[in-house]
């Protein structure tokens, strides 16, 4: 029978990869890398999120309409972060004369 889902082996492999990524982010949390702690932690989290979205949520192999719907949430999030942080990070650049 034709299926749109993946073989169980792929799900278990994905599960294993997610657990390994969890172990690495947890372990790196105990090593002092300065700013790189945050960068590595976020890179691992994004990789895990992509694995879940692509394989478990079947974004891989789904229609372009769903690719678009899945991406817009992230794009709007980036706009919200972009506009807000451009405000907070540039406060104090111009002295106010009140």
């Amino acid at each position: 029978m034709e299926t749109t889902t993946h073989p169980p082996k792929l799900y278990w492999k994905t599960c294993g990869a997610l657990m390994l990524l969890l172990a690495s982010t947890w372990g790196i949390g105990y090593i002092d890398l300065g700013l790189f702690n945050l960068i590595v932690a976020l890179a691992i989290a994004i990789t895990k999120a992509l694995l879940v979205a692509l394989i478990f949520m079947h974004i891989k192999g789904s229609s372009r309409l769903l690719h678009l719907a899945a991406t817009v949430g992230v794009i709007w999030l980036l706009i919200m972060f972009g506009l807000t942080l451009s405000d907070y990070s540039t406060r104090g650049w111009v002295p106010l004369n009140h």
């Binding site: 799900y11 599960c15 969890l22 790196i28 949390g29 105990y30 890398l33 949520m57 949430g73 999030l77």
Partner: protein
């Protein structure tokens, strides 16, 4: 013996009158769920944004406060959610293959690990309370900048609390789906509800994937 329903065309009565066929109905439901998830990204996004603004303003105080969270429970809970997501993905497959018995057990397994997650969350919140880490109600801070640490813990409770509400809703959804599955509801070729609930459960998993490093591992321990 596994109960595998005979492969027949799903009855026409499962298709709402404004759809041409089951496949079109399924695509519409998937799109609707993904649009809902986009709104959820922004719902949680507001809290992630406040976290970003305050952490960049008080990085040292956030690192100090983060060291007081229960990293062992947080880490185990991450593994539990990842595992339950795997079971959920397998449940959708079982529904598509019309394997009723496997579907019921996988849905119950997904709910079971969700319940274990909530139990551990309860143990963790209780420990936070006895450690005087709950802002407004019993917050006591012996290091510098108590106010900044309190902002961290306010965000910690708001973000994990909102997430916990989502997990609770997910557990009830899985239990109801398991009950309906036992009546053979999703093994007729119409398994969209299982698929849609799966998308929700995986999304809740993704939110926790970001919460764990940001709340429990901010600054090295």
């Amino acid at each position: 013996m596994e109960i595998i329903e005979s492969v027949t065309q799903p009855p026409r009565s499962l298709v709402a009158e404004h759809f041409d066929d089951l496949e079109q109905q399924r695509s519409a439901a998937q799109l609707g769920m993904w649009v809902f998830l986009a709104t959820e990204v922004l719902f949680f996004g507001g809290l992630f944004l406040s976290y970003t603004v305050f952490r960049s303003a008080y990085p040292r105080d956030f690192a100090a406060a983060s060291r007081r969270t229960e990293v062992l429970i947080g880490g185990i809970n991450t593994a539990i959610l990842l595992f339950s997501s795997t079971l959920m993905a397998l449940a959708v497959r079982a529904a598509e293959l019309r394997n009723r018995k496997q579907l019921i057990w996988l849905l119950l397994g997904t709910a079971f690990f969700g319940i274990i997650f909530m139990v551990l969350k309860g143990v963790e919140y209780h420990k936070d309370w006895t450690d005087h880490l709950v802002p407004v109600f019993n917050f006591k801070w012996h290091e510098a900048n108590s106010g900044h640490a309190q902002i961290f813990f306010w965000l910690y409770f708001a973000m994990t609390g909102l997430h916990a509400i989502h997990v609770t809703v997910g557990i009830f959804v899985m239990l109801i789906l398991a009950l309906l599955a036992s009546f053979g509801k999703f093994t007729t070729g119409h398994y969209t509800p299982v698929e849609i609930a799966g998308l929700y459960w995986h999304f809740v998993d993704i939110v926790w994937i970001f919460l764990f490093p940001l709340l429990y591992l901010a600054g090295h321990r």
